[in-house]
């Protein structure tokens, strides 16, 4: 991972980043992170546009950054170039929407049942494929009434430490019950939870090359959380991509505004992945250990944005604390979905080719279910295998409730 903002001279062209890149392996034409990052960056520094359609094909998985022996920020160079890349009208229009899952969520959840019905209709999917190049093989996740609220705190529990839950779009618009699961898990571990009044974390905007949107959500989110964090609250996320974005201080998006950048960095330093927080409780001996036994074999898949947080693999260790549970850390690379990437018609085959290794290894493990904390990894695994994929928080809460899956 990068230490300096501009580490281009650290690149020795060793190609270890390309060897680690999921797209490079899956698509024979993709030039790979070494070329799109440091190599073309030298031209871009000299004022050449060096624009190429392949910039769109970067997943933003950060595996190149993690593999680099010399801490070159490869993916950030690609992301900056992606933001300047010119797309044809239709793809541009589609990606404008994909950069705004919050807006999409607000609109679809006015009448969620109707939205779900329309989005799942064959003719609608056919039209979306023809008009805006959304892969017809994909199903949109079901939308739900956005009713995740800060729970009322009983008088007896007022003294517990308060956490600020950053819900993210999926939890807010698709699975508010996952939010309630997370809140209940944290309450069972003596925390009070306040749901942050935030919007999208900005990862989809960056991934779709929409800098303006990314800046707007980063600014907005920082302003909405800075006071609570200033008052000593920690931020907790259950989505690995949101966590990655918050922890990296919104990916350096705000560095032109010293005050906001400083606030973003303070928020980042106080942001914890749900499992990271619970594992810290476990390490301190303060985790609620009232976990009922469950006879369960789970395949665990670590999302790329979990790996890019550099926190080890806390969910894997937490799941194994449930008596009777065996967990298999699949460790077969990226799933290929990468948020909105897998929905794009022209990228669908690459997305599935990347996931193939993961699908094969999951099938070989023959689990009762797959646990992974990223919602789009879950979608991809269910699309590419016959196994159910759920958030590990759900398994943990069931173990507390004594209702094993």
């Amino acid at each position: 991972m990068q230490l300096d903002d501009f580490a281009i001279d650290n690149c020795l062209k060793c190609s270890v980043c390309s060897a680690a890149c999921p797209v490079y392996s899956a698509n024979a034409q993709y030039p790979g992170p070494k070329h799109l990052g440091p190599e073309l960056e030298r031209l871009r520094c000299e004022g050449f546009a060096a624009d190429t359609v392949w910039l769109e094909y970067c997943l933003g998985c950060h595996r190149c950054d993690l593999a680099c022996p010399h801490q070159v920020g490869v993916s950030e160079m690609i992301a900056r170039a992606k933001a300047k890349h010119h797309k044809p009208l239709v793809r541009g229009l589609r990606d404008w929407w994909f950069a705004r899952p919050g807006l999409l969520g607000r609109l679809t959840t006015i009448l969620p049942a109707l939205s779900n019905f329309v989005l799942s209709m064959r003719p609608a999917r056919f039209l979306m494929s023809k008009l805006i190049q959304i892969a017809p093989q994909r199903r949109f996740p079901a939308y739900a009434r956005p009713n995740l609220r800060t729970p009322t705190i009983g008088a007896l529990n007022k003294e517990r430490p308060r956490l600020l839950l950053f819900p993210g779009c999926f939890m807010r618009y698709n699975r508010p019950e996952l939010g309630r699961t997370v809140i209940e898990l944290l309450e069972r571990n003596e925390f009070n939870v306040e749901v942050a009044e935030t919007e999208c974390c900005g990862v989809p905007a960056v991934a779709n090359g929409d800098t303006n949107m990314a800046h707007a959500v980063a600014r907005d989110n920082v302003r909405r959380m800075v006071n609570q964090v200033g008052a000593g609250m920690r931020v907790v996320t259950a989505c690995s991509s949101c966590g990655h974005m918050l922890k990296t201080g919104f990916g350096g998006l705000l560095k032109d505004d010293a005050e906001l950048a400083d606030a973003a960095q303070r928020i980042g330093s106080q942001t914890f992945d749900l499992a990271e927080l619970l594992m810290a409780q476990s390490d301190a001996g303060t985790l609620n250990t009232g976990l009922q036994a469950a006879n369960l074999h789970i395949a665990y898949h670590a999302p790329c944005h979990q790996k890019s947080q550099g926190i080890g693999r806390p969910w894997f260790h937490l799941l194994r604390q449930i008596p009777g549970v065996t967990a298999d850390d699949i460790d077969a690379g990226c799933c290929g979905m990468s948020g909105t990437y897998g929905f794009k018609q022209e990228k669908y085959s690459v997305s599935m080719a990347i996931g193939q290794q993961l699908f094969d290894r999951i099938s070989a493990s023959q689990p009762q279910m797959v646990a992974t904390e990223c919602a789009t990894c879950q979608m991809q695994i269910e699309h590419g295998t016959t196994f159910k994929a759920i958030h590990p928080a759900e398994i943990l809460l069931q173990a507390y409730n004594g209702r094993p899956y």
Partner: protein, 367 residues
């Protein structure tokens, strides 16, 4: 012991770090490996030269360390053939022969065996590999070394590589991910190999493939097959790294990849924690014993006080006192080094520090 607390933490995933982690894990220790990326070993071929291994005085220990490394590579599915007192002549892409003591199995059978007729198969559009030049030089070189064997150049075309410059890395990733590509490769190689007892190809047979997959491919081809190490990054070196990394994961070594160690915290002669530069907040890892196997970066982590290592691989200050009793430095420079890459010394340093750290663990209590 909590999830960030280990018996032994190894910093660095070069050949010494991987060996140290494997050696410590063999003693049933809870081991973590922290690394930003693979060491320089992967950029080279993964071969150990013979003359490097003839260190006076330490030959037996090198033998033990190398034997351990071979066991680990075998278990990882990328066996390392040879032994420290054997010399085998393996061809290079410059058309000459190098005396090699140990090499990955996929490279090992490329030696100039007597009476063998060998096809050197190049790939159309592949850069930095000239089969005609190689065959011509190798025929002359083999005669000079007294081998009775002949080499002939052949070239194949692969339809399934399209767009972009063709590199060994590109072909190797196709080999890994595309079964159709593997069948095509077998078929065109069979054609090129007809009339030959052996085929030599550039290193292209997968970044992750195992010895079993190699053997399967060789069976399908129907004649002896070997790879040649190409210019860095070498596919055989990357494959060795990937297989060893996967093996350590499998045996339960906790792998922390991607973020550098910022600081080695030392208090009153004990290394108390490592601070890792993960985003947001620093990750703290605590090890009962710590092995620094980060090459030149190890000295940087130890700071200005560090002068050299004692015979127990512990870092000493310039006045000769031990920096920390539970800290070990896989410092291959503490041995006399003859010419060469020093990979054997790295294996020895990794093996020694891994064992020493595992042995020291538990002898003292961390405060």
């Amino acid at each position: 012991m909590d999830s960030h607390h280990f018996d032994v933490i190894v910093v660095g995933a070069g050949i010494s770090g991987l060996t140290a982690a494997g050696a410590a894990a063999r003693h049933n220790q809870k081991v973590a490996l922290v690394a930003t990326g693979p060491g320089s070993f992967v950029l080279r071929s993964g071969c150990l030269k013979a003359q490097e291994l003839m260190q006076p005085g330490s030959k037996q220990e090198i033998g033990e360390a190398v034997a351990f490394f071979q066991e680990m590579a075998q278990a990882a599915g990328d066996p390392f053939e040879g032994n420290i007192s054997e010399v085998r002549y393996l061809p290079t892409i410059f058309g000459d022969f190098q005396g090699i003591a140990l090499a990955p199995r996929s490279l090992w059978n490329a030696d100039p065996r007597s009476d063998a007729t060998t096809a050197i198969v190049g790939i159309r559009e592949l850069s930095c590999f000239d089969e005609n030049f190689m065959a011509e030089r190798m025929n002359g070189q083999a005669r000079g070394l007294g081998f009775v064997c002949t080499y002939a150049a052949r070239q194949i075309s692969l339809s399934r590589i399209f767009g972009g410059p063709v590199t060994t890395l590109r072909i190797a990733t196709r080999f890994d991910s595309d079964p159709g590509f593997r069948s095509e490769l077998v078929n065109v190689l069979k054609h090129a190999a007809s009339g030959f007892e052996r085929v030599l190809v550039p290193g292209i047979l997968g970044l992750h493939s195992s010895a079993q997959q190699f053997a399967q491919f060789e069976r399908e081809l129907g004649c002896s097959l070997s790879e040649l190490a190409t210019l860095p990054p070498s596919v055989s070196g990357l494959r060795l790294f990937n297989r060893l990394w996967g093996y350590l994961h499998e045996i339960g070594v906790e792998l922390f990849q991607g973020f550098p160690v910022l600081k080695v915290q030392i208090q009153d002669g004990t290394c108390t924690e490592l601070q890792v530069a993960s985003p947001g907040h620093t990750m703290i890892l605590r090890g009962e014993c710590v092995v620094l196997a980060a090459g030149q970066d190890s000295a940087g982590l130890l700071g200005t006080e560090f002068a050299r290592c004692d015979e127990q691989m512990r870092p000493l200050t310039s006045t000769g006192s031990v920096v920390a009793w539970n800290l070990f430095v896989a410092e291959s420079g503490s041995y006399d080094r003859t010419e060469g890459s020093g990979d054997d010394m790295e294996i020895l340093a990794g093996y020694r520090t891994g064992n020493l750290a595992a042995a020291a663990r538990g002898r003292y209590a961390v405060g």
